[in-house]
Symmetry: D2
Subunit: 347 residues, 4 copies
């Protein structure tokens, strides 16, 4: 057997960090060599996540100790904190897979506008690759830093890319109505995510102002060959996991719904993790939960000449930890589905 | 005290029927005089709805017996079955409040296109009023038949009417992304509403093909002064009750968000049951559940020049039984909130 | 019409306080004259509970201002804070209805053992009545202070009282396995009530150590004529509202299940708010939610000679605010169901 | 690599069958060679379970075709249908792992009493092993038929076995209050499992009459060395997956809670899939969901001298498909956690 690589997780006690732990423990090519946490340094992770009882895992340390000897470092941190980790990885030769936003936007101007921060180490950003495997697989293999896409942008880009690339839709007027499970808001306590106030409800938040907007636009602008500005409205959905995005765009083609749907099937024909629904079926969260799949359904409203796409992922897997591992697999030459081939349960 | 009027419910064992029972039992001006059910004729309603134990209620009969002596008849039936009830009410002098779709569309052509059925008794339809009280209160007082609006159309029309009436938005390109609790699908069993398959998921259904589409368009065309065609996509939301609609339209005004919001506040200033959210707050289901309120929030996405409206109701109350009682109150001259003034709980 | 009484709520922004607001707004004999909140003094309650938008309500003040001029004061405070309120009410002549635990236990020793606090004003306690209306109605009319029962104790006492009073069961070995919705844990944020950690789970808490234990035992000891010690284990149930208690006791009678069940029916025959399920049906939360009802089912396991009782209430209504209003109605001579006659919805 | 064994699933479209498919697809030592379904013969399983889209799986056939060439046959059928499958497996030499109840009870008398059916082929039953791996691992290796334990009995037996074996508790008076997620009721539609009636509620069912009772008693009688009769009351819990059982028994020892808890730790020290909670922590469903773990917490109520155990499993994994695969692994000499080593997510 090939020697296992050593993986460290910086920010291991947030939800994305814990999901990385969960998936890496059973990854056949990986050994978890370090876990860091600012809030819980010195504790065992099973004290915070009792689901990890009786699993041998490293004690939580600070980031410096956690990444020592690591071949790959996963960073799952609030934005603005990844550059120093990236520098240390550059020194040690470890690959950084950043689950945060710091290396996702190519334009420092856009980053500054949405995140109110500058690039402190611009040269680091030159080696960063926006790592949505189904669209940018080749670049990932040569990345110096892997910028793991956000959850909403993953579902949006996989759904809209083929339509824009093929010229099926107009480039303006795209609307993304997104719904995310509550884990998307993280482990920190808020009134909004207090059970009695999130349960049996739904509401939009950060209307037209969510930081994933420029990230979605960056990928789609690349597909369209020009700057895309779109409407993105996320909603807090009373489920633990999963994102559903219903996307609206004006048709710019005479192709039939069957032809458009077939173009989607063809576009993703070799992609294990992207599945196009049969005609007439809508993508739904339960068919992807706790898996690395993205399910997409393609609809046309003839009365209004509108293309409607439904795109579903698990926000913690394909939208975070699973995709990060997929990127690691690609970079290190493992089977792409290694450790993340679990099927969704459907119930 | 004024003499109570007698109310009959035809189709009392569907969810809307049971909600009518629940609300009418404590209505101070109403006595329930008859309950009918095809499926459970001869049984007590508390055998089907054990929440109605130890409440004195009429035994379930057929429709003819149920409506005898009634001053008002609520019909909650599958579409296509209300005309015969309407005829009997016309004969007996009872007011019919139809919670179904049969009298909602003025155009027989549209009714035929969407419901695959004709108007068998066209003259009956002439006396029918589409009874959304906040928009058409005056007509309701003189109605011969009250066509109680559908749940989705209620939330959509209350949200979009002021914008169209005031010319704030373009008349084409309106998109309604709607999410409804599972009671909206009724009491009948389906795989889609089986707990393990509805829970922890969401999915669109009847994309661009839901029968509430022409009903929404009818009201909005009236507001706009021309035929409106829009995109309507409903989703099955894993909650028991409540509808949230996020609505997108291109702005056709230079007014600021504050001015637009204020126009909404003014439009509904005298309406007890319609509330406009403060600036920056999104309407959410939990603030209206089990009440007759409709909460609306007004947002503008400047980057794309888009008006975004969020509109929330309880589908069983303002979207069905509560609004039907509101209409009854208007018609009979009771206080408009009589029996339906309960506040939402928020949790 | 009789002049309305003035009601103040001290601690109006906790869940029980907000539920009192909700129910008192539509109570025909009550005017809300004051609302207090330590955390939100000076704010409008609709800033914290947007479900109360567009309802005219007093601004949140401190307790002293809130209770000025009040005929009845509802206190919904953490334990240990009610005695000073009680003193002020004694001075002003207002009735205190205390939703907290401070006046529930007659024995200061037990209070000290479980709450780690003494009675600072023992004379106040002499005028306090443990106000479970179905069991102690007559005493309530003459109360100086109404100690409103806890949620778990209400469901437990109503279920077990007839069995103990009639000698149907052995006095030792009673086990209460209780499940409560998350509102029972209140509005304060905790990891346990964070949506992703409460949802799709259940767990016991405070096993054998919950402070409602001595309160349950006090009422049942009274029924049994001797000191009862029992096992009480609460669980956090992933619903917003409702308590279900499944209660186990060894039979001490030869009566048949039908005879025992009939004795329950007879015991509560004149009680509007207590309902005994038909034979073979289990009480369930959905049949009482958002109402003041308590549903009880009676079962016998012949193989083990065990009486099994299931008892359900809404923890916020019959378990808190609704029962407090029921007590107010009794004290002031209003109809006992005045303002709290809403039926449960069942869905 | 070792040659893969061929596995067939009879009754592949029930929830347990679908869960077997899900887990076996990624089992490194297994190839799924056949899937049968009475209801959906001739269809692809992804038509019923769209979560299985784009996964190569055999078309659904009748049972005879499905089990051809199989080395192991998993049967997930309504009770009373497994004997004919067992006969065919005996002829073909395939191992039968029966997820149903037909081979679980050793006593035909008990089987007849609870299932209203006799053993048609008594000799088949002689080779059947009740296969709870942590308790009966050695017998499994030599089984002719593997009777996979029921979900409730798995959680109950793992929790109570050490206490009975060690004489910590009295043998009479044991009470099991069990709560199960709705998948436990299967895929078939019922009013009880209709989303709006299962959601936001809980209720006991089959009080003292559930068919898992004799199965639990059989294992515990074996541990106790005498016939155990106990009270078992299951509840329908509004979650998709998971069982929590809170178990009450009178202590028959002077050992401290710490000593008892340590005895549990020691009893399961070498068992990967059974975990004892730290002192003061209650087992909860979310820590085992979608994994093969069983978490047990040990509590003592000194006031009443009662041992209280909380035991949690995922009903579809450790309670059905996962344990069936664990048994297959043991029988065929694979690593015991092969294909079922996924960790629970905790959220």
């Amino acid at each position: 057997m090939t020697k296992k690589i050593k993986a460290a997780i910086v920010g291991a006690t947030g939800y994305a960090g814990a999901e990385l732990v969960r998936l890496l423990v059973t990854h056949p090519m990986v050994e978890i060599s370090g876990l860091s946490s600012v809030s819980f340094e010195g504790k065992e992770i099973c004290e915070i996540y009792p689901n990890f009882k009786k699993i041998g895992l490293p004690t939580l340390t600070d980031a410096d100790h956690a990444i020592e000897d690591a071949d790959v470092v996963f960073a799952s941190l609030p934005h603005g904190l990844s550059e120093p980790i990236a520098e240390k990885c550059a020194e040690s030769g470890a690959l950084l897979i950043d689950l945060g936003a710091d290396f996702r936007l190519e334009s420092e101007e856009e980053y500054s506008e949405w995140y109110k921060k500058t690039f402190d180490k611009p040269t680091l950003h030159e080696g960063a690759v926006y790592a949505l495997p189904e669209l940018f697989r080749e670049k990932i293999k040569d990345a110096k830093i892997i910028a793991n896409p956000g959850c909403y942008p993953t579902a949006a880009a996989l759904a809209l890319y083929p339509a824009l690339k093929n010229g099926f839709i107009e480039k303006s007027g795209i609307i993304i109505d997104a719904k995310s499970g509550v884990t998307g808001a993280g482990r920190s306590l808020t009134q909004t995510t207090h059970y009695p106030e999130a349960n049996e409800s739904i509401s939009a938040y950060k209307v037209g102002a969510h930081r994933h907007t420029p990230e979605i636009e960056q990928t789609l602008s690349y597909a369209a060959g020009e700057k895309i500005n779109l409407v993105f409205v996320p909603h807090l959905l009373p489920v633990n996991r999963g994102i559903e995005e219903t996307i609206y765009a004006r048709l710019a083609t005479d192709k039939s719904i069957d032809e458009i749907r077939q173009a989607y099937v063809d576009f993703y024909i070799d992609e294990q993790f992207v599945r196009i629904e049969p005609s007439g079926v809508s993508a739904q969260i339960r068919n992807v939960t706790r898996s690395n799949y993205c399910d997409i359904s393609v609809h046309v409203d003839k009365r209004t000449n509108t293309l409607i796409l439904c795109s579903c992922i698990d926000n913690m897997v394909k939208g975070a930890a699973g995709q990060a591992i997929q990127n690691m697999n690609i970079y290190f030459g493992f089977e792409e589905d290694c450790g993340i081939d679990m099927l969704p349960a459907g119930f």
